[in-house]
């Protein structure tokens, strides 16, 4: 991985709120991360921690109202996406940033053929004619491993199985050779055997096409298999970020540690009892004033209830580059 | 000059469904047909008979009617031709009789040809009708818009059961009248044009008649009086305020003519009590517990203010009356006694007759019988207003009234299975209007004969709605049937009329309802007629210059 290369995507201090009847929900709080060319960034965190909202905020996919991106910069190729006009943003979506969503069953339009749906971005962003787009669409389908691609262009989504649909989604996302591919839990809805197929596919495509990928998932196993770097989110914030091996071998944040322990292993020692994280995830109402994890944290102390911790590096490298964590407590024992 | 005045537009809110008067007898159908088909003689605005196809009106004096009153001889005008150019002959006349009297034909005007023994056609222009016995009024057959002459050539194939399936013939009859049918849309619109072979070469002035149907009286009146879309609208019976308002618009005027149509309350002389077994309700087996008391009937009549009824419901289209036969003059009684309301008198009368409010509930009673009536009529706004008003007055004199309104198609439908027909009379009093055809009241008066009482035996088909039975009355009707001479007959009719109304209050006449139509100011020559069809002189209509 080219460690020093300039990032293709640089997100700084992103803040997204939902205005709802019950008040504002601060779904994403000062999230910063970057993505280097060819890198695969894994994002984990429990349900509702703001993973999807973060990614959709980047290219304005959230419905507004109720969503509102309050602050931050999203630099893609030197341009701040948050400052673009809707029309300019459309040029970015699909062309520079590809998106794959969780549920392949509902993410494709049921009444148009698969071919039609792959060709759309091609014709829009690449200015291809219909015939050209069709040829390219067939290539893409073949690329994602769907046999008899040319014929299958005329099929409707419901004629495909879940795995195949997810491949079609990937083909659509890849259609215009985006710089960044964001995959929001692309395999959660799929069976393990199919998941394995998709993961292999992505690995292969990454090698072939060399784009940068953000991969959101619940599943630490998936992360372990494919990510270069991992970002852990909790309560709308990034709580820990590190290269993948570093994270698994030396987790710092109490949440990360707990998370790693709750998952039973397939091969290792079989624990008599599973570790549990007690309590409920936080409700993200209002401006965060304390650590979101405090109520479930075994190590929480006064400061945790009074102050929201900032991300701090723990391996000397600047925050975001190496291993950093947002916690007042430090694993070493000393209070940070 | 024929055809010079272009098109005239006529509106009948009840749409025309056939032009053959023998198959429908609905007024609108008869009237529309009368533009094409003509009888031997018609009636003018005064009820006087005048020849149409006949050369003259046969009478005993001119020898046309035999002295023993058993036959009548009609002479046709010479040179008459059908609209297709063929000559009109006595054979057509005879055929018409055969057509209507065919047992399977279901002719609606059968009554007109009753009592005819034979019809002979000694020559092409002479028709001799022989009756089974003496006919003091021998003019029933072939007179008036309801008994026009059909063309034999056209209708020959339509005798009997085939009558109804002769669609083409019934909708486009060949006639002698001023117009011929060019287009007929059932229950919608009929288009006529001037008959090129009409006997008067200068007539009709209009080249085209459009006779549109559908809607309601209000729309009909409005179309003439307000929007001017039509020249003439038939039967524009609307409430008096609207009459005034529309007339103020100045586009047209309402025309009226009084005939024999009388809105009346009929009294049930038999007991309609629902508690009686079916088949015995409203039959002579059970006389009415209250209404057989003449005082009650009289009091009911006295309590009514007929002028108010007219003012509320009819305006120019009606006038108060005390008679069942209000016209023509030679047979109309001059009763006026009922015209002033007398509530106090009515109360006194009841009081005197023993009907007192013994239990203080505001309702009079006698011998445990409450003065409580069911009062039925058809669904119709004016009638409902009448019901409300009369109920008020009757309540005032201590009579309890329950109102009932029945759909006209049921009420007048004559279905023996329905409890709601006016013949079954499952009510104490009922209100409707009736009249008679032409000027001869004899059949009308014979409705009240004892043997015409409806009941289960005759499938409730009798015409004596009141179940009135008086031998003296029967005897007088018999006398009428053998009396000839207009005045003598007229006198008898007056007596009969009084027996039913003034003397016994079996029938409580309310309003003499005229024909009431709307006419545009640009239509000239229109003369209202209540004895024949309203289009009787369409050949004389012209466009006002």
């Amino acid at each position: 991985m080219p460690d020093g290369a300039a990032p293709v995507l640089d997100v700084r201090g992103l803040k997204t709120v939902f205005r709802t009847r019950g008040g504002e929900i601060h779904a994403v709080n000062s999230v910063s991360f970057h993505l280097r060319p060819g890198e695969l960034l894994g994002v984990v965190g429990e349900s509702g921690s703001g993973k999807s909202v973060t990614m959709m905020s980047l290219i304005g996919l959230l419905p507004s109202p109720p969503a509102e991106v309050r602050a931050g910069e999203v630099l893609l190729g030197g341009r701040d996406l948050l400052k673009l006009q809707p029309r300019e943003l459309q040029e970015v979506r699909g062309a520079k940033v590809g998106f794959v969503f969780q549920d392949p069953m509902t993410s494709l339009n049921p009444v148009f053929t698969v071919g039609n749906q792959i060709m759309e971005p091609l014709m829009k962003h690449m200015g291809m004619s219909k015939a050209q787009a069709e040829t390219r669409a067939a290539e893409l389908l073949a690329l994602v491993g769907i046999p008899d691609a040319k014929k299958r262009l005329k099929s409707y989504p419901h004629q495909f199985s879940g795995g195949m649909r997810q491949r079609v989604m990937i083909a659509i996302a890849l259609a215009c050779d985006p710089d960044v591919l964001i995959a929001d839990e692309p395999t959660t809805a799929l069976d393990v055997t199919i998941q394995a197929q998709i993961i292999e596919l992505v690995k292969e495509l990454r090698q072939k096409l060399g784009m940068a990928i953000v991969w959101i998932t619940h599943d630490l196993g998936v992360i372990a298999g494919i990510a270069d770097r991992v970002m852990v989110m909790y309560g709308g914030q990034v709580v820990e970020q590190a290269p993948v091996r570093e994270l698994f071998s030396n987790p710092q944040h109490p949440y990360t540690r707990a998370l790693l322990k709750t998952v039973p292993s397939l091969t290792g020692e079989r624990a008599a009892r599973l570790e549990v994280i007690q309590g409920q995830p936080p409700i993200l109402a209002g401006e965060p004033v304390a650590c979101p994890f405090r109520a479930r944290c075994a190590h929480a102390f006064d400061r945790c209830h009074a102050e929201n911790p900032l991300r701090r590096a723990i391996d000397g490298r600047p925050v975001g580059q190496g291993h950093d964590v947002a916690c007042h407590w430090s694993a070493g024992g000393a209070h940070g | 000059e024929r055809g010079a005045d272009g098109e005239v537009k006529v509106f009948y809110y009840q749409a025309v469904s056939t032009l053959n008067a023998y198959l429908s007898s609905g007024t609108k159908d008869v009237e529309a047909g009368s533009l094409v088909l003509e009888p031997l003689a018609g009636f003018d605005q005064d009820g006087q008979m005048f020849p149409r196809l006949a050369a003259e009106i046969p009478t005993v004096e001119n020898g046309g009617v035999s002295a023993d009153l058993t036959s009548i001889t009609w002479k046709l005008k010479e040179g008459l031709v059908w609209s297709d150019g063929t000559p009109v002959t006595s054979a057509d006349v005879k055929f018409t009789w055969e057509y209507c009297t065919h047992p399977e034909g279901g002719c609606a005007q059968g009554a007109k040809y009753e009592g005819i023994k034979s019809i002979d056609t000694p020559d092409d222009l002479t028709v001799v009708i022989t009756f089974e016995g003496p006919k003091p009024y021998p003019y029933q057959p072939f007179t008036g818009g309801t008994a026009p002459i059909l063309q034999k050539a056209q209708f020959e194939a339509c005798l009997g059961a085939a009558a109804a399936s002769c669609v083409e013939q019934n909708s486009k009859p060949v006639g002698t009248g001023p117009f011929i049918v060019t287009d007929f849309k059932v229950n919608d619109v009929v288009t006529f044009e001037a008959n090129p072979n009409y006997r008067d070469p200068a007539k009709p002035a209009f080249a085209k008649v459009t006779l549109k149907g559908g809607g309601d009286a209000l729309a009909a009146a409005s179309a003439v009086m307000e929007t001017g879309e039509f020249d003439y609208a038939w039967n524009t019976q609307i409430n008096p305020e609207q009459q005034a308002q529309m007339e103020a618009g100045g586009k047209g005027s309402f025309v009226n003519a009084f005939g024999t149509l009388v809105e009346r309350i009929e009294i049930n002389m038999t007991n309609p009590d629902p508690a009686l077994p079916e088949g015995e309700r409203s039959t002579v087996k059970h006389p009415h517990p209250i209404l057989t008391d003449a005082n009650v009937r009289k009091a009911l009549s006295m309590a009514i203010d007929r002028q108010t009824l007219v003012d509320v419901g009819y305006g120019g289209a009606g006038r108060p009356t005390c008679n069942l036969v209000p016209a023509p003059a030679f047979q109309a009684s001059d009763n006026t006694g009922c015209l002033t309301q007398d509530i106090e008198g009515a109360k006194a009368l009841l009081e005197g007759a023993g009907w007192t409010d013994s239990d203080g509930d505001g309702i009079r009673d006698k011998d445990g019988k409450k003065l409580s009536l069911v009062y039925q009529t058809t669904v119709n706004p004016v009638r409902q207003d009448f019901q409300a008003l009369i109920k008020g007055w009757w309540n005032e004199i201590g009579v309890e009234v329950e109102l009932k309104a029945i759909d006209p198609s049921v009420f007048f439908g004559g279905d023996a299975a329905s409890p709601d027909t006016f013949q079954k009379f499952y009510a104490d009093v009922e209100m409707y209007a009736n009249n008679f055809d032409g000027t001869d009241a004899e059949p009308y008066m014979s409705q009240y004969l004892c043997d015409k009482i409806p009941g289960p035996e005759n499938q409730w088909q009798g015409e004596n709605i009141n179940r009135f039975c008086d031998p003296a009355y029967d005897a007088m009707v018999k006398e009428l049937s053998t009396t000839s001479g207009i005045d003598a007959r007229g006198a008898l009719v007056m007596k009969l009329n009084d027996m039913l109304t003034k003397d016994s209050n079996i029938v409580i006449p309310l309003v003499d309802r005229g024909r009431f139509s709307a006419k545009s100011n640009t239509l000239d020559g229109f003369v209202m007629n209540s004895w024949d069809t309203e289009l009787w002189n369409a050949q004389d209509w012209t466009r006002a210059k």
């Binding site: 979506r93 009444v111 | 047992p103 059932v186 229950n187 929007t227």
Partner: protein, 335 residues
């Protein structure tokens, strides 16, 4: 799909037969009588004869079977004869209206054009107004446009047509005199003037009906579009960089129209029958007016035939709606 259609058609036959029987019996049971508009001057014997001549005195089952034969056998023959100039019918007895003594099918044939032009136009216009309103209302949910559209739609089907109709007539036809009050069925469009006359006489009824129809369809459209706007594939389309126009007018609309089209198809039978009240108000002598007229005078053959034709239409359009659904939505494959 074919087999589905066939199966539905097959099951439709017994349903329709049952319906025809129910209608026949119900109408027959009704206490009205065909004699009611005959003046009281006509004596009872004559009435009796007239009833017999119409065949109305036959037992109900005899009449029903005869009617069945006429409806399903004789009338089609006449239809063929009329089309090809053949003579298969050979003068067999048609269904004859008791009231007018004319064949019911001829009456229907005369009435259909009015009904189709007025109610059909109204329906078409209604749909054409409803779709954009519905779509935009949904797209801008809770905007003032949506609120106004909702109000318009609600008012549209809350205010009875006989109320609006009469008020419109009073204002525009009677007081302002812009439009005629009586519909002229003889009017044929041959030139500009007659075209204008046609427009004038259609204006009011079409407005009333179109508003009513538009109200309903716009609500359906709105909720259908709303439903689809929340679907994942819309997000996918946006993520592909599609413009809003394309997202809404292509992706969302196509899906939203599936239920709407079927609603429209289901509403079509009302084009033939449902406008009874409107025809009554505007004096359009269409099918609805014919039916009401026939009911009022107990013209049983007409009532039975016309209501049965409505029933056939309803069944047929139900089927068409289902088939349309299958065609529009590739996920639905019957059998």
């Amino acid at each position: 799909m074919l087999s589905f259609t066939l199966r539905r058609l097959l099951t439709a036959i017994p349903t329709l037969l049952l319906i025809s029987l129910v209608i026949f019996l119900l109408v027959d049971l009704a206490p009205g009588s065909p004699m009611s508009d005959i003046p009281l001057t006509v004596p009872p014997e004559v009435r009796q004869k007239m009833i017999a001549a119409m065949g109305a005195d036959q037992p109900v089952f005899v009449r029903y079977l005869l009617w069945l034969k006429q409806f399903f056998w004789v009338e089609p023959l006449y239809g063929i004869d009329a089309l090809f100039g053949t003579d298969f019918a050979q003068g067999a007895q048609r269904i004859i209206s008791w009231q007018s003594k004319a064949p019911v099918f001829q009456i229907i044939g005369e009435r259909l054009p009015q009904t189709l032009t007025v109610v059909g136009t109204a329906y078409l216009i209604g749909v054409l107004i409803a779709l954009p309103i519905g779509i935009y209302s949904a797209y801008r949910q809770y905007s003032w446009f949506d609120q106004a559209g909702t109000f318009f739609a609600m008012a549209g089907f809350s205010v009875p047509t006989f109320f609006t109709g009469n008020v419109l007539i009073l204002i525009f036809a009677v007081n302002l005199g812009w439009f005629p009050t009586i519909y002229d069925t003889n009017l044929e469009v041959v030139d500009w003037a007659s075209f204008k006359a046609m427009l004038a006489q259609m204006a009011l009824p079409v407005t009333v009906l179109a508003l009513f129809n538009a109200a309903e369809i716009s609500r359906y459209t709105r909720s259908s579009v709303l439903e689809n706007l929340g679907q994942d594939y819309v997000r996918t389309a946006r993520a592909k960089g599609m413009g809003e126009g394309k997202v809404v007018l292509k992706h969302v609309l196509r899906n939203s129209l599936i239920p709407v089209v079927t609603v429209i198809a289901l509403g079509l039978p009302t084009v033939f029958g449902g406008a009874i009240v409107t025809e009554q108000i505007f004096k359009i002598n269409g099918i609805g007016a014919a039916l009401i007229g026939a009911i009022h005078v107990s013209d049983l053959p007409t009532v039975q035939t016309v209501t049965f034709i409505f029933a056939v239409l309803i069944v047929m359009f139900n089927l068409i709606a289902d088939i349309l659904y299958g065609i529009l939505d590739p996920r639905i494959r019957y059998d």
